[in-house]
Symmetry: C2
Subunit: 109 residues, 2 copies
């Protein structure tokens, strides 16, 4: 399984996306904190976090008996760059046109 495939698969589950959202809102939460409010056993959350870590979407740091989780946006950006961007070409072209137009107007007002 390629790295990008791991990321897509990790993002395919709504619980995991919710976890990412929570970490994005507040980084460095422990496992217990992430469990709060979720209708799920701790082990299930652990499993989800394991997949996210495997996809490099989160990083883990131990502090005593606590496991702190940090969100890593790089893989998501990678997906955007290598997979989504090409379907957005018209939009990007428009942006490029705007930039070019502004630069042209700057030189020849």
């Amino acid at each position: 399984m390629t790295q990008i495939d791991k990321v897509f698969k990790a993002l395919a589950d709504p619980s995991r996306r919710a976890l990412i959202d929570r970490l994005h809102a507040r980084n460095g939460q422990t496992l217990s904190e992430l469990c709060k409010g979720l209708e799920m056993a701790r082990q299930s959350v652990t499993q989800h976090l394991g997949l996210l870590e495997d996809a490099n979407l989160i990083t883990v740091q131990w502090k005593g008996r606590e496991k702190l989780h940090y969100f890593n946006p790089v893989p998501i950006h990678e997906i955007y760059r290598r997979w989504i961007q090409k379907f957005e070409q018209p939009r990007l072209d428009a942006l490029h046109d705007l930039k070019t137009k502004l630069e042209r107007e700057k030189k020849q007002p």
Copy 2:
């Protein structure tokens, strides 16, 4: 299952992403055409295409006995807009800064 969830799940499989890529390269292909080169039974491809259609990622049009498939980029853009964009904020800010800078330079060269 929400619409956005369907899209994420549809994108989670590499065969389906490959199908999207092929349609993006050449739109309006039939089922048989899409099967060529894939190491998979026709029925499996049909199943994948069914999921993609359910996620609104492709549209189907019948022409006689042939089923033509068309790629629809809207859901992917939706995912970008509603889910990926917020993790890209720094990058977008940089872009906005560029635009502002160019406009400022245009007014006060």
